[in-house]
Amino acid sequence: MKTKVEDGSLVLSNRSKQSIFGKKLKKSAPLYVLLLPSIILLICFFYIPLYGIVIAFKDYSPALGFWGSPWVGFKHFIQFFNSYQFDLTIKNTLTIGLYSILVGFPLPIALAILCNQIRVGMFKKVFQVTTYLPHFISTMVMCGMILIFLSPSNGLFANLLSLIGVEMPNILSNPSAFSSIYVWSDVWQHVGWDSIIFLAALSAINPTYYEAATMDGAGKLQKILHIDLPLLLPTAMILLILRAGNVLSVGFEKVLLLQNPLNLAGSEVISTYVYKVGLQNFEYSLSTAIGLFNSVVNVIILLLVNWISKRLTKTSLL
């Protein structure tokens, strides 16, 4: 259809060109009507705030607004880089983010391979329903459960440990234990759900591969190592790139809920700091600058990992 229009336009006069455009526009008009509600919302609550990022380079005052506030250049960025919170939040964010990837990335793959090996249909179903279940628990309830279970005096873990005569340390107020609590509770909640995509990739593998391997005398473990894993690699790389791009935006809600004054040295991350500076201390410009710094670093890491992956495995997002 496109070529027809292009060929035709060679001999058409300017006026009929306009009328073709007009016809197309008329055809699209009802579709624009359908787009209208979402576009309006996006402009109001995404693109206008996006413009609002300029206050990172200004001294924002509510009276003067986005436009009128005076420019100050990189003042707020420099203020953040020089504050003692900079090292702390970067260190904690990177620790939690990298720890999450290290544990949370391979485990869903392992779980999918495990689930794929279960041949009893009924049991497989029960296994899947059970492992997906915790994903639907709200962050609030999850954090409530963590606080209840890990309570040093009479929590579930304390009681279970006392059965074997071990005393429960107060890990909720220990800064260095924070990342472990965060990462492993996340594994408990999401490992099953995160495995779905790998399970789908596994079920798409051509069964003749397995048959051929069986004929050659391969055991189950060998089939996993030489068929399953190589064929999961492209899916895994894409997900790794996406995760790496989010390494600095660790699950902010969960961190905020599990924070207490005693573990703050291990639990203050960039995003919680942005929240506190911005909406509790009302330093709007500083908070925006820190948030912008975080986003920029995220995008850089995403592009970097994407580039490395393209070089090494020929898989990439873009």
């Binding site: 919302l41 609002g52 986005f66 296994f127 997906y132 579930l156």
Partner: protein
Amino acid sequence: MIAQRLTIPKKKTDIIFDIAIYTVAILMIVMIIYPLWFIIIASFSNPADVANGNVLFWPKDWRLDGYIELVKQEMIWRGYLNTILYTIVGTMIGLFVNITAGYALSRRELLGRKWIMIVYILPMFIGGGLVPTYLVVREFGLLDTFWVLVLPFSVSAFNIIIARTFFKNSIPETLWEAAQVDGCGTLRYFITMVLPLSKAILAVIGLWTAVGIWNSWFDAMIYLSSEHLQPLQLVLRRILIMNESLLGQASGELATELRALSEMMKYAAIIVSTLPIMCLYPFLQKYFNRGVMVGSIKE
């Protein structure tokens, strides 16, 4: 005979492997179910027994005090009602804006489709950030209103892409051609022909939106200040995280009793707030899974 010769005997290592697989799988099921089971039995047990570790597998000294105290709290009811309202209205708005956009973007005749697509995808990667968004919401006068939780952030690029993929792949182009011959316009075609054929995608997106709203609390925390607008999750925050004593203050023996009762209320609150999703989940599981699958197929 030939078939028999072709079957290769099971390897010994494979049998060991199978045993290992099933053992790990059963262990995992126990590790996931036990904490949830513990919450249930603890909510029905004597709090002293729970604290001393006497309740491990079965409720002890049955009682319903936690639930009774919980339902006496007015804010639980209000939170529950608010969350139900937010979920219903928010899901309807979310379905409306995302399905209409997804359909329009799936049509090839849409002029400037590529550019419009970028407008929708950009929010997935960048954003204005917390403070600029807050300031804009405040500027629109939405602070501390019902609408702030259901309207401003209802557009989801992810849902739009899922819907678009579905419309592209599942609604035959010939249907549109036939409708055109009969003189049916785009909007009427969308409403009377496409939507009835799209129940599956409506269910997937609707369910995801509903669960997301039911479980969310952060927007409510920063944008709402009135107590009568608080959703359930913020009420839970007061009970579970901030450890607020909702039963008042007391001293001496009464204080210990009150503390025990607050502990029971925590278990009851977890059950009561999570029950709707947990009950629906087994029946709706296939829709949830389908969402992940559809979403993972790009183009």
